[in-house]
């Protein structure tokens, strides 16, 4: 039952990701991208990471997609684009098919490194996923967290500098 559900959602994710690449109209690409994001959020729930699923919806499907669609609307190229592809369609297709074959083949070649970390299903159910993430983020990974803050500051300043009209 669970495996059937996995294949169903995976199928939807792959098809919608493919349509992101294929669609003529950027708006259609964007909507397909949202579908992919939501499929991934479903997987995160299946992987017992509800907090990540929530973040996925809020940040990706919420913030980033709104930004992208806003720009599409603002620049007003909702209409179909004439030339869709660069000359490199054959080369690009070849490279990505090769990449996919190699990666899937390699993944099958062995079992991912050992289990046995402290975080089990029972622990997640008892403590709660959000609390676990919070502890890890603010105890073990405080320094990278601060650097991520700097990163966002740069992005805000940069977006303002680049997009504003006059100094």
């Amino acid at each position: 039952m669970e495996i059937l559900f996995f294949y169903l959602v995976a199928g939807v994710a792959i098809v919608s990701a493919f349509f992101v690449v294929k669609c003529r109209n950027p708006i259609n690409s964007a909507l397909n991208l949202v579908t992919t994001f939501i499929c991934l959020a479903v997987f995160y729930v299946m992987l017992e990471s509800p907090f990540m699923a929530a973040i996925q919806i809020i940040v990706y499907a919420g913030a980033i997609m709104v930004l992208i669609i806003f720009v599409i609307m603002l620049l007003n190229f909702g209409q179909t684009i004439k030339g869709r592809y660069t000359h490199g369609i054959a080369a690009g297709g070849l490279v990505s098919v090769l990449l996919m074959l190699v990666a899937t083949q390699l993944v099958r070649s062995g079992d991912a490194t050992g289990t046995g970390g402290p975080v089990t299903s029972a622990m997640i159910a008892e403590v709660g996923h959000t609390e676990l993430i919070g502890r890890a983020l603010f105890l073990d990974f405080v320094l990278p967290f601060e650097i991520a803050g700097v990163l966002l500051l740069i992005a805000i300043v940069g977006a303002l500098i680049i997009a504003k009209q006059k100094v």
Partner: protein, 100 residues
Amino acid sequence: MITVTHYLMLSAILFAIGTLGVLTRKNAIVVFMCIEVMLNAVNLTFIALSRHVGNLDGQIFVFFVMTVAAAEAAVGLALLIAFYRNKETLDVDDFNMLKW
């Protein structure tokens, strides 16, 4: 039974689809969306692994990937607007004032 291998295969496929888009599409905003697909494939790998290995390091890394994706999207879209203001096109092929 769904194993970690299933998830890794799926993310490899998604990453390859994203690469296809980046390599073949002309429109800069579609290229951005394809990059988001690639980054999401990475996120799926990390979360599946973190579940498999039983620690949270992978999920924390996903946070940082999301931060970077958001920051890059913000700056990238601002650049698109600045560029469009001057040039009125978004085809990667039209970035040809500077020749190879």
